[in-house]
Symmetry: C2
Subunit: 278 residues, 2 copies
C-alpha cells in the first residue's frame, strides 16, 4: 500500500475534500506558503461526507490518497473536517506520506484562545458525532468544556450562494442560540464551508466570541511541518507552470465556477477523475 516518501522540495502538496469546501483551506495555503504547488481533489461525485459513516468516509479518503500519490505529492492535507475526524488515523497508519488534518490545528488554536474554558464547535453531524475536537482539546487542556452543535443546513445554504441572506441568519440563530446561552467565548468553524458564512456566524454570536478558522491554522501547521522536514520550497513558481491543479470526481465545469468565486487566481481548468478506480 505505501510508497517511498517523496523528498523533492518542488513536488506538489496534495489537498483533498469531499467537494468545494476544502478550497477555503487551499486558499489559505496559497496565501501563507505562496511558493508551493498544489494538487487539489474534490470528491464531487460523492459529496457530501458530513452525513455519512466512518467506514464509508474512510474508504473514500483512502482512494483519494492513492490518487494523490500518483502525482508524487510530498505531503497531503485532509482539507475536510469529516474526513479528518473519521479517516486521518487510518490514513496515517496505512501511508508513508505525511498527512495533516484540519481538526488538530483548529483544536490547538481554540485551546489557546479561550479565557473562560468554554469552547463551542459547529460542524457536520459526522464531525460532531465523532467528538474529535473534544478529544484533541482535552489532551491539551483537560479543564476545558466543549459544546458541539451539528449544523446540517449550513453546507447547502453556502452551496446555494446564500452567504448573506435572512434565511441563513434565521437558521444560524436556531443552531447557535444554545451556544450563546451556555456562554462560550470561543467557537470553532468546524467545517470548511463555514468560513464563507463567517460574518453571519460572527453577527449572531456577538463580538465577545472568538471565531477559530481551522483552515488558517492548518496552513500555518503545514508551513511548520514542511520547514521541519526540510521540504519547504523557496523558489518562486509561475502560475503557468501547473502551479495549481484541480481534479474532481464529477461536474468539472460547475466546480470551476464555484472555485473561482472562492479563489481569486482564476482557475483555468478542472479535470474529472473516476475515483472509484483508485
Amino acid at each position: 500500500m505505501s510508497m517511498e516518501q517523496n523528498r523533492d522540495v518542488s513536488a506538489p502538496i496534495g489537498v483533498f475534500d469531499s467537494g468545494v469546501g476544502g478550497l477555503t483551506v487551499a486558499r489559505e495555503i496559497m496565501r501563507q506558503i505562496p511558493n508551493e504547488k498544489i494538487v487539489y481533489f474534490g470528491d464531487t461525485a460523492r459529496v457530501p461526507y458530513g452525513s455519512k459513516s466512518k467506514e464509508t468516509v474512510t474508504r473514500f479518503s483512502r482512494q483519494i490518497v492513492r490518487f494523490l500519490q500518483t502525482h508524487r505529492v510530498k505531503t497531503i492535507v485532509v482539507a475536510c473536517n469529516t474526513a479528518s475526524a473519521y479517516a486521518l488515523e487510518d490514513l496515517e497508519k496505512e501511508f508513508d506520506v505525511p498527512i495533516i488534518g484540519v481538526v488538530k490545528p483548529g483544536a490547538k488554536a481554540a485551546s489557546q484562545a479561550t479565557r473562560n474554558g468554554r469552547i463551542g464547535v459547529i460542524a457536520t453531524e459526522a464531525t460532531i458525532g465523532s467528538h474529535i475536537y473534544s478529544q484533541y482539546i482535552k489532551k491539551i487542556n483537560p479543564d476545558v468544556t466543549i459544546y458541539g452543535k451539528a449544523c446540517p443546513l449550513f453546507v447547502p445554504l453556502v452551496e446555494e450562494g446564500l452567504w448573506e441572506d435572512p434565511v441563513t441568519d434565521e437558521i444560524a440563530k436556531r443552531y447557535l442560540n444554545e451556544l450563546i446561552d451556555i456562554d462560550i467565548d470561543t467557537l470553532i468553524l468546524g467545517c470548511t464551508h463555514y468560513p464563507l458564512i463567517r460574518s453571519t456566524v460572527a453577527r449572531v454570536m456577538g463580538e465577545k466570541v472568538t471565531l477559530v478558522n481551522p483552515a488558517f491554522e492548518t496552513a500555518r501547521e503545514l508551513r511548520e511541518t514542511l520547514e521541519k522536514k526540510g521540504l519547504l520550497n523557496d523558489a518562486p513558481i509561475g502560475l503557468g507552470e501547473n502551479k495549481y491543479q484541480f481534479y474532481v470526481s464529477d461536474g468539472a465545469e460547475k466546480f470551476k465556477t464555484f472555485a473561482n468565486s472562492i479563489i481569486k487566481y482564476g482557475i483555468l481548468s478542472a479535470k474529472t477523475v473516476n475515483i472509484e478506480e483508485f
Copy 2:
C-alpha cells in the same frame, strides 16, 4: 450484462433511489399493489444525485440494477427523478428486466390535468437541466408550455425535518413566485422528496393549481404493466415473509429512522451493501 427475465409472479419488485426520497414511491406501491414484495435500495453513500452529472448518475444506477438483479426482481422502478431523467434510456437498452421511471407517468398525468396548457415542474438541478419532463409532455401534447424550476434547498430542508416551517415557506415562496407569475395551472412535484412538503407547496401555489405527484402515477403505471405482462401477484403475503426488504450503501440505522417516519409498516431492518462492487 443482461440476465434472463424473471417470470415468477411471486418475485419481488426492485425499487431504487439515491437515498430516502424513493420511499414516497415505495409507499404508493405498498398502498396500490399490496400483494407485491419489494426490495428497496437507497444509495445513501453517494446521495444526492440531483447535483451530479449524467455520466456519474448512469454509472451509479447501473451498479444498483446489477445489485437488484441478484434478488431476482421481476421488474424495477427507478424511484428517483434524476436517475429516471439521466439513466433510464441507457438502463432499458442494457438490461432485459422491465424498468419503469417516475418521469413518464408524471408527465402523462400533468398533460391530462392542465386546462390552460401551462405546466410547471419543480425538481433538482439535474432533472430540470435534462428537460426530460418537457420532452415527454411535448410528445403527448406539443401545444403545452413547460416551465422548469430547480429547487436545490428543498431536499436538505426535507431531510432536516423542516416539513412545516417558516423557513421552508420562505424558500418555497422564492422558488415558486415566478411560476405563479406566469400563471401555470398544473405543477409537477418532480423530485421524490417533494411530496413530503406538499402542503407547503400547495399553500404557496394556491388552490387553483393542481399538484401532480409522480409517485402516485408511477405506482398506477406499475400495476398496469404487471397486469399486462401477467406478472401481478394475487396471493397475499404476510409482512413477516421478507415482504419488504431495505438495503442502503451507508448508514442503515439512520435510514431506518427516517424510513419509519414515511412508511408506517414499521421497517424492522435495513442492510448495508458495498454498491461499488456491483
